[in-house]
Amino acid sequence: MTQMKSKTTPITSDYIDDPNYEKVHNPIFDSENISSFTLTEITDHKTDSGVLSQDSEFEIEDFAYSDDEFVYDDEENNETYDSMLSQPIKQITKKEMSEGSVPNLNYEVLTTQNIFKNMLSRLDHLQPVFNIPREDILLLMQHYDWNEERLLENWTERMDELLVEIGVSQKTSAVATSLEKKAENPDISGVKTKRGIAFKQSFECIICCEDKDTQTFSLECGHEYCIDCYRHYIENKLHNGNVITCMDCSLALKNIDIDTVMGHDSSKKLMASSIKSFIQKHNKNYKWCPYADCKCIIHLKDTSSLAEYTRLHFSPFVKCDAEHRFCFNCGFETHAPADCNVTNAWVKKAKKESENLNWVMSHTKECPKCGVNIEKDGGCNHMKCSSCKYEFCWICEGDWAPHGKSFYQCTLYTNDEKSKKKESEDLSKIMKKYTFYYRVFNEHEISAKLDWKLGQTIGSKVRALQEKMDVSWIEGQFLTDSIKILNEAVEDLSELLQIKDPEQIMKNKLEFYNKSGYVENRMYALMECGRDLLCKGICKPTD
């Protein structure tokens, strides 16, 4: 257990000066602007239903998905609807933070290339301090998970030891470990060999045990093997993201060595996997965009505000460069008005039917840091997550450090009797309720897919409009703005967008604005009222 816990040191934080990477995003909008009728509607229901029982899954069935109440052309609401249409558009769409709500999320969108570039520029920065080749600093930094502070601290204290430990230089003393039996390789003792490729006739490689004329590779340690074995070995190690060492001792291969052996830029692969494991280890600040094939990484510099989001039942939604919106907390796509707990409970519930999940639930625990599922198949309580390397106690799921040497008894664990709630609920009732919500959920999912298709068609219409009418891109933007809103709720707007005649579309410009503004407002109203229910503890997940 020599691996140290990594303190989150955002390596990218202070030297990205490209303003394009800075995005200030505020997902919360002024709720004052939202028409009040939806809220009153719901408040009434709330008071009617009185105290809701705690053990039901989602205590919102009385109103939440009974669609009629949410259809905006509902008779009794027509007045508000009309008055809203007459409001100037800017007031509706302006995104402001209401007082007493959550702080802004300050994040940047990166790609692995960005991170790699940042790492390289970091190396340039550090080079004068270390005064050793950049390649060597890279090895040090990889070893220290890019935690500069800790590296520098250790560097000043015990520079030479560190270089040996990390495999940058060889041991100077003649102490040979039991594995480096010089008797077995008498030809290497004492002689310092040149790093690199050589050609040898009838060379006997002790890895593959073949005797042949071949190219060989060795580091300064003199452990020389045929190039095929080295290639094989490196190929196997590239995806781990760890520093690759000599096949016999712990002298490290630098990127240039890897490229020499492999004959192309394989070290890029290693760097990519190294960055992946970096993100995994710093997953509090870095998150991959969860959308398929999206390469974006969101870097949140200051995670202190996240607690505030959770407390107020807001969700920290972020948007990557490919316009994918997702929740930074739980990694799901946008799930307003539900908060992360509700979403999680729902997703788990929806998946529960599968046997797989049942097995996972009964045999594994989630890593308390990165949430990966871990199965314990023996040994003591000291666990080390193979994904994020977090060390924790299997019993109490807390940090390992305070446990010290008590490998089998966790003294920090207090048995929570409350968790053993009796299962006295009427099963068929729950099942019925679940199927109802599942169906609703499914319907929404299907219609979301249809909306996306509609969005595609509209996109092509916008292009056609630009061609035929010769309008500028900026002028055409009002349509694309509408598309985004359509993804959430579209019905009325989609009707308008079915107008085929380009001239007619330009005439209806105001209409577009009004409708889209309205649709948008409906969405926020829904979000706000959902959040309100969560805040007041009226609906909560029990899972």
Binding site: L179, C208, Y233, N242, M247, G378, G379, C380, F407
Partner: protein, 157 residues
């Protein structure tokens, strides 16, 4: 099976037959059809003279993955073996057998066997793999030694 894995194993076998430490044995197992299975070996590790382990020869199974020698073999003692660094399943917790720690492709069967012989009498209490032996070893040496001696008799030469 990859050719590198096979080649190397054949050579390991040759080397072992030519020269191996005294009291040890190691041989590939047989498949159902009677042919040799080079990826699964059986071996015996004698306890060191002058230690509480000396009476026994402890049976090992060694399984080589296809990625060998990039990846280490999986080495097991019988399930339930009494030793602080042996999992209840019999899997041995030793740094040179761990890919993420000290495994190197250049490590030979002989080194593995000697390493395990070493481990028998010098357990590492900071990396326990089973509770009973670890607890006895750190808290009740007499009890530990009694159990080990008993086990040695069970696996007597």
């Amino acid at each position: 099976m990859s050719s590198l894995c096979l080649q190397r194993l054949q050579e390991e076998r040759k080397k072992w037959r030519k020269d191996h430490p005294f009291g040890f044995f190691a041989k590939p197992t047989k498949k159902a059809d009677g042919t040799m299975n080079l990826q699964k070996w059986q071996a015996g590790i004698p306890g060191k003279e002058g230690t509480i382990w000396h009476e026994g020869v402890y049976p090992l199974t060694i399984e080589y993955p296809d990625e060998y020698p990039s990846k280490p073999p999986k080495v097991k003692l019988p399930a339930g073996f009494y030793h602080p660094n042996v999992y209840p399943s019999g899997t041995i917790c030793l740094s040179i057998l761990n890919e993420e720690q000290d495994w190197r492709p250049a490590i030979t069967l002989k080194q593995i066997c000697l390493g395990i012989q070493d481990l028998l009498d010098t357990p590492n209490p900071n990396s326990p793999a089973q509770e009973p032996a670890w607890r006895a070893f750190s808290k009740n040496k007499a009890e530990y030694e009694r159990k080990v001696a008993l086990q040695a008799k069970q696996y007597a030469k």
